[in-house]
């Protein structure tokens, strides 16, 4: 981001939580503004910050603070990558049940700040469902904690969840504690191709009707842009997984889908396919029952304009698109995004442009219509960061 580089006076890389707090505190008097970076995988999310005096990188805050395998809880510093965390947990056959893009680079703090997710949200939810404690550096340089290190805890306001998705605008996340899940004995992906949007929705309904409990469900738009391949992951103990797989195959066959039993190898293949990348990335959130309408009124028009991969998580009503503007479609791109957004908002959802190329930036709003509760959000920002020192102007409503 060029304007960041223009203002940027210093790059900071604290080696400890206390040092991070001191760096913020020492610069409080001067009113210096901060931007934060972990692995740098989602720096484009939100508006471009208005002014960045200091870029604070969390990558040296990479320690495991406490790991209690028998309690299935882990506390880590924010700069640790997700892959490094999973490596720590693997010998105990435990994991953080989260599968976002780029785990080798993405850090815990960045994942929390951007509320990153992957297909496992089907069963395990998002980071808000996994976090149990947090430590932040406030804009005045004070360290503050919320939650704790037990999974069940209702003491005080839920600061950990409030920080999820807050894009570093309320505080710098320096430590977090998570509940963990057991690594399954068996994982098995199945894929059914050649499905229309109606077909995807129907198969998802049959999953529910059959009381199957997939850990992940995602649909990839096939080349041509009109049909989907639906990937389903069952995991758990061997007998349970096999029984669910058999039931699912029966259901998919009855729907006339082309079945690919992705087998054990499929795990690796599928995980890579669930996160479309590209210079333009769009995230749509709608009610799950609006799958067909969203496909028709948002995905198809966007596909005319963008050479993009599209992955949908049909059980949660999430669509992710990643790609670039087609040759000659540049002039239509802004209007197409606006129309797709209007369609999603009419369904009660939203369309976020998570990343965009230079041509679109400035003409396309990342978020769309502000929610009715926005005045409360502004007051939260005012209380936590009255000088707007943290990620100034980057979050929703240019907070």
């Amino acid at each position: 981001m060029t304007s960041q580089a223009d203002d940027l006076r210093e790059r900071l890389a604290p080696a400890s939580v206390d040092e991070a707090a001191a760096m913020v505190r020492e610069r409080a008097e001067s009113g210096a503004t901060f931007a934060f970076a972990g692995g740098g995988t989602e720096l484009a999310l939100g508006y471009e910050p208005e002014r960045v005096d200091a870029l604070l990188e969390t990558t040296r805050l990479d320690r495991v603070v406490e790991y209690a395998p028998s309690d299935m809880v882990v506390s880590v510093e924010a700069g640790m990558t997700l892959a490094a965390l999973q490596t720590t947990l693997a010998p105990q056959r435990q994991r953080l049940a989260l599968d976002p893009a780029l785990p080798e680079r993405a850090t815990i703090g960045g994942l929390l700040a951007t509320n990153a997710f992957g297909p496992l949200r089907t069963r395990y939810g998002t980071l808000r469902d996994l976090i149990v404690g947090i430590t932040i550096v406030r804009a005045d340089g004070t360290l503050a904690r919320g939650g704790g290190k037990v999974v069940k805890n209702v003491a005080g306001f839920d600061l950990p969840k409030l920080m999820v998705g807050s894009l570093g605008s309320l505080g710098l996340i320096v430590r977090a504690t998570f509940r963990l899940h057991p690594m399954p004995e068996r994982e098995r992906w199945y894929e059914a191709g050649g499905l229309t949007a109606e077909g995807v929705r129907a198969l998802c309904r049959s999953l529910i009707a059959r009381r199957l409990e997939p850990a992940a469900v995602f649909a990839r738009l096939e080349p041509g842009g009109s049909h989907y391949a639906l990937a389903v992951l069952f995991e758990g103990f061997e007998t349970g997984v096999d029984a669910q797989g058999a039931s699912w195959l029966e259901s998919a066959n009855a729907a006339g889908a082309q079945i690919v039993d992705a087998g054990p190898e499929g795990v690796r293949i599928a995980a890579g396919a669930a996160h479309p990348r590209g210079p333009v990335r769009i995230r749509i959130s709608v009610p799950p029952a609006a799958f067909v309408e969203t496909h028709r009124d948002a995905v198809l028009p966007l596909g005319d304009c963008f050479e993009a991969e599209c992955v949908a998580y049909p059980t949660t009503g999430t669509f992710l698109l990643g790609g670039f503007v087609r040759d000659g479609a540049g002039s239509r791109a802004v209007a197409t995004i606006a129309a797709a957004r209007a369609a999603c908002e009419a369904l009660g959802g939203s369309l976020v442009v998570a990343d965009m190329d230079a041509a679109l930036r400035g003409s396309v709003d990342p978020y769309g219509t502000l929610p009715q509760s926005f005045p409360i959000m502004r007051r939260l920002k005012e209380r936590f960061d009255p000088g707007r020192r943290f990620n100034r102007g980057r979050f929703l409503g240019r907070l």
Binding site: T142, G146, G148, F157, T239, P366, T369, L370
Partner: protein
Amino acid sequence: MTVTTASPGIERELSDIVGAANCIVDPGELRTYECDGLTGTRVRPRVVVLPATTEETAAVVRVARRYGLPIVPRGAGTGLSGGALPVAGCIVIGLSRMKRILAIDLENQRMRVQPGVINLDVSRAIAADGYYYAPDPSSQSICSIGGNIAENSGGAHCLKYGFTVNHVVGATIVTAEGEIVELGSAGADPLGYDLMAVLVGSEGLVGIVTEAVVRILRTPEATRTFFATFPSTDEAGACVSGIVAAGIVPAAVEMMDRLAIEAIVKATGVDWPLDVGAALLIDVDGTAAEADHTATRAVEIAQLSGALEVRTPRDARERQLMWKGRKSAFAAVGRISPNYYVQDGVIPRSEIGPVLREIAAAGARAGLRVANVFHAGDGNLHPLVLFDARVEGEEHAAEQVAGEILKICVRHGGSITGEHGVGADKAAYMGEIFNEADLETMNFVRCAFDPAVAFNPGKVFPTPRLCGDRPGTYVAHETEIAGTAGRG
């Protein structure tokens, strides 16, 4: 805040909004509202108002604010932490008349309900379709959704399925200014800060919920239940750890100690053995194949951990009886002791054995018995300190033991409350787990919603806290001032 001396004008204005029948000022009738499930402390409110709609609630809040009355929201009044305890001169806004189910959307697995709807009635309304609402506090047949949201209620099955905060996705609230605001969205990822996460568990400090959107789940294909007895809580604790270490996430793992078992047997007539040190009641669920497999493994682990006996219910009726025994435990303890004090501390699961021994010792030192019946899977203890209020000094001693129990939990890395809330009861213990900066930061949240501290004063925070002016000058962006930011 300027406090105007209350005049009959207030009551007249309030009855104009809700009708005279729903504006309670009679001292006899007000007695019902002097406390919630925490009956030891009572404060008579000035007036109780029972609105029927969101608009009425908003109008009532505006009147109360104009007269400077503190506002205490109240659900079904079953809370155990004094979250609905009135403060002197306050208005209690009771949501018990708002008990309609507004919409059932099976396709999106959501339901919109009013706050006075009883927890169990949510599940009942969709049971025939094969769906249910997961959070199941033991009081689920009498507690309401609005109160569940305020306290972020848990229950036996939150070990696998999460708490109220994981299952309430939207809400209509009335703010301290008397405005009506929608939180959450129809999509899974609302824009902006996660205000639902703040609302759920905020103990009536940030807004009054007048409608809630809850997530409903498909009933699992199979649930397998078993009941196992052990020589002591140590073996039972080891069994819990063993099950978890085997990669099993049970739907529920409940533990009862000798005294709790005795109380339950006396009260319900269930045929549990009395000569055991502890018992576990365990549910595993999922698809039939998965549930059968995990139940078999869990029973093996129970036997390896030294179980004296393992019982499996023969049918749904027997299963229901087992759970009825567990869920009636608090009431049952009332049969073996005239009074008791409930605690709600949380500890890391692996510490169950040592902590229970410390708790028993603390009780013994004070000459009091402590019964334990609790959610062992997530380490959420419910020690019941038994006492007789007629005996001089026993109530005070019980309170002391209860406080000591919280400190034991904190020493072992836990929390002072897992599901009952801080309320008025445990506000003084917040300083055991949070420092001044932590509490100040939580107060930022409250002040963003209610800068005048009109909602539920005296709860959660250990010392009264005001919001004061905004700390420093807020630097607004010009587009924000113009109101154009973020419009796409």
